[in-house]
């Protein structure tokens, strides 16, 4: 590099300053010839990742409990402290929970939550491939029946019109919404008068409704999976509530106290001696009207909620995003907002990936149809330039791995495998099949293992059988969350279940992840490897670029000047195999992972090397998943290596699944490959 030297004279200094500015500009300008870009200027900037578009499903789960229109009575079991003398309670009220009492203390008397749902439904109306469920929830069998009455037959029953039996068109949901608004209005009037029984709304037992919801979502997901659409499908749930479940066990106990009934009535069996018939009937009445307090334990609600969010994990496809919306938090009493009493607050802390927000008016917090944040900002969190087909072997020599299966050509011969085929024996990559720990299972037919060798749901280069045998997640591109995709961990002999960014296998003060970035294995001493045998590139941050999309969304992406300074290049055999792996769980042509998206690859011709650039991109506002983009660059082996730049804008978003939260089981069980 040429050094600029600035002299002491004023004139010289001036020239020099201009010169320097010129220098800087020149540096930033694209160096033509070395990059293959048509539109100069964009080439250093990440293109907006193309997030997968498929069927869209929205779930509006709306709290229709009494607390929305009315506060609790001082003399009600709702009261947080039971007075010493039960006489202070109005006994009549105990048997009719949900009786309006303090109308001015309802959390959402103006039905802002329903107004927001309405606005969102309007946005979604007419959009392609969009279905919704609008499910209200309250509590108890009687409560449910009361609520159901408004649907002309039953809430979930066959006679209900329109029936809440699964995902429907938006217009059907709108009809339901109209009814809910009427219900709300009716009950608010009753609450305002302060007399009579609420007509529709009652206690709040979300768990039973959540399990119902799970069935609907599951059957819809299965349906989409059969059609091969689940991979790209997105499910978004909006959970509107104040987060307070009623009745709680202590409330039921209070009610029993009021009737001078023993707490043994709570036990279902052997309570005839201590619990009189009158009390038993009374308790049954409580269960019918209020619902079972056991359903309202946090563990139960959380389990039902988790079961719902885990469905994509169970089916291996699809995505589920949970939005927890606290309705008018300013009207909820502080004691009821605590993490011990409020299940929304509890989910916020314990359910990873759930978004938490609140509403205080009828204005939706964001638009569903288009932009959903002020600025969507994409950041590059990792970048790799790798030549999988020609790299340093374990013994310190550069060697060809023609088919890119992780087993070098000489090793393929040693183990009698085909150096031009990734999976010589059918099921496992050769590098996995030769290992004693996996040998037997790799030789077992997939039907017996219970896996499909053609499915690579997460797109990490490993099929379902390999993921099963290795103990990695078939629906996570990077199971251990160390920024190295599972398939490449196999090829570079990294640790599948441990964070290579933390490990330093050979104690050389350079962690395994840095070794990987240099195209080396964990045991290679990076300082002792010849420069020509490892990968090196410079990555200079240039700044941000903003683009406003048609829907008004502002997208911000980063720019980098990336120059590959060294990468091993050499002659390979050329492969005979077509790697037939499919995204998702249906082997049909449109699901087939195209060559341009395969991260384990062998070039077809013998004198070609295929460099892959892999970028890990994060949407700063959405930390639930990572987005990956790739660019493949063929290099003619005989020409050897010459330094070249990367056109970052040409990187294509991969259809991979990389939830950032790795499954705990995988994290703890993993061992090195």
């Amino acid at each position: 590099m040429k050094r600029l030297y600035c002299g002491k004279s004023l004139l010289k200094l001036l020239v020099c300053l201009v010169g320097l500015t010129g220098c800087t500009n020149a540096k930033l300008a694209p160096s033509k010839g070395s990059v293959e870009s048509a539109s100069a200027g964009d080439e250093f900037y990440l293109a907006t990742p193309k997030e997968q578009k498929g069927p869209r499903r929205f779930i509006f789960f709306v709290d229709m409990s009494n607390s929305m229109v009315s506060g609790g009575c001082k003399t009600d079991v709702d009261n947080d402290k039971e007075p010493a003398d039960p006489k202070e309670f109005d006994v009549v009220q105990a048997t009719t929970p949900g009786l309006p009492c303090a109308s001015d203390k309802g959390v959402d008397p103006n039905a802002d939550r329903l107004a927001i749902v309405e606005k969102w439904l309007n946005e979604l109306d007419g959009q392609a491939d969009t279905k919704v469920i609008l499910m209200p929830f309250t509590g108890g069998i009687m409560e449910t029946n009361r609520l159901a009455a408004s649907y002309g037959g039953g809430l979930f029953g066959a006679g209900a019109k329109p029936e809440i039996g699964g995902f429907t068109e938006v217009r059907d949901a709108k009809e339901i919404l109209t009814r809910l608004k009427t219900q709300h209005k009716t009950d608010l009037e009753i609450a305002t008068k302060g007399v009579g029984d609420t007509k529709f709304m009652g206690t709040s037992t979300p768990a039973t409704f959540l399990s119902r919801l799970s069935q609907f979502v599951y059957s819809d997901m299965k349906d989409l999976q059969d059609k091969g659409q689940l991979t790209t499908a997105s499910y978004r749930m909006f959970f509107f509530s104040d987060g307070v479940a009623t009745p709680t066990l202590s409330q039921v106990k209070t009610a029993l106290n009021l009737k001078k009934c023993s707490h043994t009535c709570l036990q279902k069996e052997n309570n005839t001696k201590t619990c009189s018939k009158e009390c038993r009937d009374y308790f049954q009445e409580i269960l019918d009207y209020w619902g079972n307090p056991e359903d309202n334990s946090f563990a139960n609600i959380k389990q039902k909620m988790t079961a719902l969010t885990m469905l994509p994990e169970i089916l291996g496809e699809g995505s589920f995003q949970l939005n927890l919306i606290t309705v008018h938090p300013e009207r909820i009493e502080e004691s009821e907002k605590a993490i011990e009493t409020n299940y929304l607050a509890n989910f916020k802390k314990n359910l990873l990936g759930a978004k938490s927000l609140s509403i205080q008016s009828s204005i939706p917090p964001f638009s569903l149809a288009g932009a959903n944040a002020d600025v969507v900002s994409y950041k590059l969190t990792a970048l790799y330039a790798l030549n999988n087909n020609f790299r340093l072997n374990p013994y310190g020599d550069v060697e060809a791995d023609s088919d890119g299966d992780g087993l070098f050509d000489s090793e393929e011969l040693q183990f009698s495998k085909d150096p031009r085929k990734q999976r010589t024996s059918g099921v496992c990559l050769d590098s996995i099949a030769v290992q004693p720990a996996y040998k037997d299972r790799c030789a077992t037919p997939p039907e017996i293992l219970g896996c499909n060798k053609n499915w690579d749901t997460d797109g990490d280069g490993l099929n379902e059988c390999e993921e099963m045998i290795l103990g990695t997640s078939p629906s996570d591109f990077d199971s251990d969350g160390d920024l190295i995709p599972d398939g490449l961990e196999v090829v570079y002999r990294n640790y599948l279940g441990r964070d290579d960014g933390y490990l330093d296998t050979n104690s050389d003060n350079v962690n395994n992840h840095v070794n990987f970035m240099a195209g080396l294995m964990p045991h290679h001493y990076i300082d002792k490897v010849r420069a020509s045998d490892k990968v090196s590139f410079s990555k200079q941050f240039l700044g941000f670029k903003s683009d406003r999309q048609i829907n008004g969304q502002l997208i911000q992406t980063e720019g980098y000047r990336i120059q590959v300074l060294g990468i091993p290049i050499g002659t390979v055999l050329g492969t005979s195999e077509d790697v037939a792996l499919y995204y998702g769980k249906v082997s049909k042509p449109e699901n087939k992972i195209p060559e341009s998206q395969q991260i384990l690859f062998g070039p077809k011709t013998s004198n070609s090397n295929s460099i892959i650039f892999l970028a890990r991109i994060i949407d700063v506002n959405d930390t639930s998943k990572a987005i990956w983009a790739m660019l493949r660059k063929p290099i003619v082996a005989e020409k050897g290596f010459t330094s070249f730049g990367l056109d970052l804008s040409k990187m294509q978003t991969l259809q991979v699944r990389d939830p950032i939260k790795a499954i705990e089981a995988v994290k703890t069980n993993g061992r090195p490959l």
Binding site: Y395, A437, G471, L496, D504, S507
Partner: protein, 565 residues
């Protein structure tokens, strides 16, 4: 005492230093560098040493057939009540091995050598150059033939005591020479087979008379040669001496058998009161089917402590340099001045605390394989992290740095701190231990002479490594040495060991540095197998004239214990 020129120089240097500088100055890094002696070594090792299922196990029973087995002459009368194995239990042991342990693998081959003052010929066949037999039946036939010979001898001596028959004196040399012939010819006949030889050397007494008599190292050398010979043919040998004789003979016999066990790459001589109690099967290396990966190799000079850029002698291997021990209130030649290792004591809070701990710890000063005693481990509460007896005090935090090394280097043995940088000099603790610097003093730019340097590389094969394990070549190019005082470790024989593990005795002579090489073996994706810590101990004189070139084979590395995961 002979003082080498270099050593004399150091003494002179330190004296002049004492005269000019105050004691404070000695702690700073600006002090003129002390000269160091160094040595280098070549080693080949496996990620896990042992045999695989596919590797033939060749078992050789070397059976003592001396008269003492069946009785002795009291005056002119033969008294069989003095026989150490009149009940023929050693034949039963061999048969039992062949039936219960050996038959599990059809690759196994056997050979039986009976010896007295010569090799006992069975059915007139030549024993030493004959091939191994390949079936359990054939092996048992030879054992039974020897048993018959013993029976015949009992009858013979009872009736005609004056005429010598097969069973007379004990000649180890002939037996070992026969073994040598046997293995050499077997290796020649089956080149490329890479067998694993397991020798059981069962004897009830000391050799008498014999060309090696009075020179224990003579036997040792013979076995060492055998081991080297096997290694060059890419095979390995384990030579297990078993002593079942009278307790009067024990001390004398062990003087000879102990060095043989050492050369035979086994933990120790198996001493049994009665030969019928021996379980040969448990003494054999189990075949390995899981592939292990080598991690975290460490080379540590246990007798040297890096202190503020200086490499200081630590003769008693307690983590406190000799010249600082008095200053902190410890005895420079005692490893555990107050019952707990001085370095541990210092870390916990000093002598007074340790004195009060002594009674509370309720420990017996028993060492584990890495010379940490139960007292040390209790004091550090490392026993709480143990998940089984074999991982106690080995690598409690599972960071690949053995607990002993962590204690000596002042890093935490109970917390995975390998990737942190205690002194903020940009080198991780793991890397500092690897290069031999001090993790808690910024010494990035320390002079190279006092650091360890090495090259290691994965090789395609190494003699003695099973085919499914990694083979490594270690080229230790520079290990600094220091002048030290002699030291004797007083902790008793190891607790919680297993037959295939070895206790490393860190006792050493004057000026003998003790170098510990360890590495971690991590099973690849096999949840049932535990990780392991392997290692070896090298004692090398600071005196350049006494040094010899060292090269190690895979069988020179021993299993120390298991990891906690």
């Amino acid at each position: 005492m002979k003082i080498t020129r270099r050593f004399a120089l150091i003494v002179a240097a330190s004296i002049s230093l004492l005269a000019t500088a105050c004691s404070k100055a000695r702690l700073t890094t600006t002090e003129s560098p002390r000269p160091v002696e160094q040595f280098s070594l070549n080693a080949k090792f496996c990620s896990k040493f042992g045999r695989t299922n596919s590797q033939p196990l060749k078992v050789i029973f070397v059976v003592d057939m001396s008269m003492s087995n069946i009785g002795k002459f009291v005056g002119s009368k033969f008294d069989s009540s003095f026989g150490t194995d009149l009940l023929e239990a050693r034949f039963d042991a061999a048969n039992q091995f062949v039936t219960d342990c050996g038959s599990q693998n059809s690759n196994n081959e056997y050979s039986v050598i009976g010896f007295s003052n010569g090799i006992i010929s069975v059915n007139g066949a030549e024993v030493c150059s004959s091939p191994f037999v390949k079936t359990a039946g054939e092996a048992k036939n030879i054992v039974e033939a020897l048993r018959q010979i013993q029976k015949d001898n009992v009858t013979h001596y009872s009736t005609s005591p004056t005429v010598a028959k097969d069973m007379t004196e004990t000649d180890y040399s002939k037996a070992i020479d026969c073994l040598q012939t046997k293995i050499t010819s077997d290796l020649q006949k089956n080149s490329g087979q890479q067998p694993f030889y397991q020798v059981f050397f069962m004897t009830d007494g000391k050799p008498n008379p014999d060309p090696c008599s009075g020179r224990p190292e003579c036997y040792k050398t013979k076995i060492e040669l055998l081991s080297v010979q096997a290694a060059t043919a890419s095979s390995a040998i384990k030579f297990q001496p078993i002593f079942y004789g009278k307790s009067d003979d024990k001390a004398q016999a062990l003087k000879i058998l102990d060095p043989m066990a050492e050369a035979g790459k086994v933990d120790q001589v198996q001493v049994v009161d009665d030969i019928k109690n021996i379980k040969l099967c448990e003494l054999t290396s189990k075949p390995i089917s899981v592939r292990y990966r080598k991690e975290s190799l460490n080379v540590t000079n246990l007798t040297a402590k890096m202190e503020r850029g200086q490499l200081l002698p630590d003769s008693d291997i307690d983590g406190i340099p000799d010249e600082l021990e008095n200053q902190f209130g410890y005895d420079p030649i005692q490893r555990r001045t107050y019952g707990v290792m001085d370095g541990v004591c210092k870390a916990l809070g000093g002598p007074s605390l340790c004195k009060s701990l002594q009674t509370q710890l309720n420990c017996q000063n028993k060492n584990n394989n890495l010379s940490l005693s139960d007292c040390d481990l209790r004091a550090l509460k490392l026993d709480n992290l143990s998940t089984g007896p074999l991982d106690l005090g080995i690598d409690s935090d599972n960071d690949g740095l053995p607990d002993l090394v962590e204690i000596l280097k002042d890093t935490l043995p109970n917390f995975d701190d390998g990737s942190s940088d205690l002194d903020g000099d940009g080198l991780t603790n793991r890397n500092e231990i690897f290069r031999g610097s001090q993790p808690n003093f910024p010494d990035r730019d320390i002079r190279k002479e006092i650091l360890i340097s090495l090259n290691e590389s994965l090789t395609k094969t190494a003699p003695g490594c099973a085919v499914n394990q990694e083979a490594w070549a270690l080229d230790l190019t520079h290990v600094p040495l220091v002048p030290v005082k002699a030291f004797k470790e007083v902790g008793s024989r190891p607790m919680n060991s297993r037959n295939d593990m070895k206790y490393l005795d860190i006792s050493h002579e004057e000026n003998e540095n003790v170098i510990l090489i360890t590495f971690k073996s991590v099973p690849e994706n096999d949840l049932k197998s535990k990780s392991e810590v392997w290692g070896t101990l090298i004692k090398i004189s600071y005196d350049a004239l006494k040094q010899k070139s060292i090269s190690l084979n895979p069988s020179d590395f021993y299993l120390m214990g298991e990891g906690v995961q």
